[in-house]
Subunit: 259 residues, 2 copies
Amino acid sequence: MGTAQLTAVPEPKYWHLRTVLLRAIDSEFSTGQVIPNERELSARFGVARATLRQALDQLELEGRLVRRRGIGTLVAAPRVGVPVSRREEGWPGSSREQAWQPVDCVSVAAPERLAKALGVEVGALVHTVRRLRVEQGQIVATELLRVAEEALEQVPEIRLSGAAAEGEEQARVVLRRLERLTVDGESRAVELGVAEAEEAGLLQRPPGTPVLVVTTQYASAGRLAALAVSTYRADTCRLTFGETGLVEVTPVSAIRTAS
Amino acid sequence: MGTAQLTAVPEPKYWHLRTVLLRAIDSEFSTGQVIPNERELSARFGVARATLRQALDQLELEGRLVRRRGIGTLVAAPRVGVPVSRREEGWPGSSREQAWQPVDCVSVAAPERLAKALGVEVGALVHTVRRLRVEQGQIVATELLRVAEEALEQVPEIRLSGAAAEGEEQARVVLRRLERLTVDGESRAVELGVAEAEEAGLLQRPPGTPVLVVTTQYASAGRLAALAVSTYRADTCRLTFGETGLVEVTPVSAIRTAS
DNA sequence: GAGTGGTCTAGACCACGAC
DNA sequence: TCGTGGTCTAGACCACTCC
């Protein structure tokens, strides 16, 4: 990373800085390496620290840098591809279920908005299972899986122990009942969001972290059976919706910029 | 929007401010309405303008606010659902093709990374068609559709006029040839990115704007036929991957926060 | 010209991790 | 204790839109 001064350009300094830094981390640094600290860099480029930070913010949003308080700023690893489309990925009982780790479960009377989203009456009993998705040893997503008790009615209730089921155990009970439902349709949406307090903690990120929110409606017998809201770390995840991987995936940056 | 002072809390001021502002725009403002200006708000809450802006930055990232220089800060409209999974959405010749408007086309010898992504030899002729997606009268995405000439070889070359085809006309020629290929497989990925200069301009947004980058591999006859990199505005779009819409979609915010 | 958001500065102090 | 990134301040000037 050179000692280059910024040349006068019509674009904002922070944007030009981003370009310079991006070129530097692509050519002079490798994954996991710590780049010079913010005070050092701002001095080197002759800008205020806040301006330099604006450039780093961009690169962090793009998943190219990771900043750790007390440690420094590191070059991020390439994003991991996370399959989300195949049914086996999300539905309990599938071969890939171990990717989703149940955390806890709460069962309450549905407030208005939730009832409407699930297509049940206000006040109907709704289970909310919290799960974590682990990929390559890293937590990449957290999920709220919502299902009305009435959607499970046909499924015999299971109890794993004699005591009242709570927390993780209750979650496993609901999932076991859920896996007996036959899913015959799925509908998904993806949008950008930010992690609030609880989600942020589970994802081991500060509040305000950008996330990809995947909303999945599972249908069974022509009727909405369950609703999953999965929150993926946007910095480390590339969501894949493949039928089959045709060829290995080329990093998007290579395709977008290659003219 | 009250004159509330910030109470002492362990969380950062900007994050608390975001929560307060979010509650205010949900309850006291409607879509398109201008909220008080930044100097006014920072004075009202007793914080520096930079701190207030940090809170507005979050809300803008979440698609809840839109800021327009010289005008003010407006409450954003709910995100529009944009279907991306059905084949008809992206492939030329489909019933929904008018959603994609060809802009221009360049045909060059493939540099290394592009050749690798398309599975052709370095130096092979590759067409790059630029398209814009318009939804509800608004530009929501820009796309680079890449196809190797050799993938089109079996398709007779068409010329719309006697002159050498260039720009938009050339784009239409390539699309016409492309639509005769039979697509028998698709593979997609979605990730977060930022719009750089050219894309940002086409999307009518400043550089650095967060976008959802959708990469689609189209297969024909068991072989990669084309590669599309579509860049959607993250502030205004919710990407939908539905088989069929089961029920109307509830705003994610209602589901994520309803306990 | 007046008012808006966008950029930039030069500091200060805090929270966290490593030593 | 020291170095790191995270937060916050109180200004300044610029670019853009509208009247």
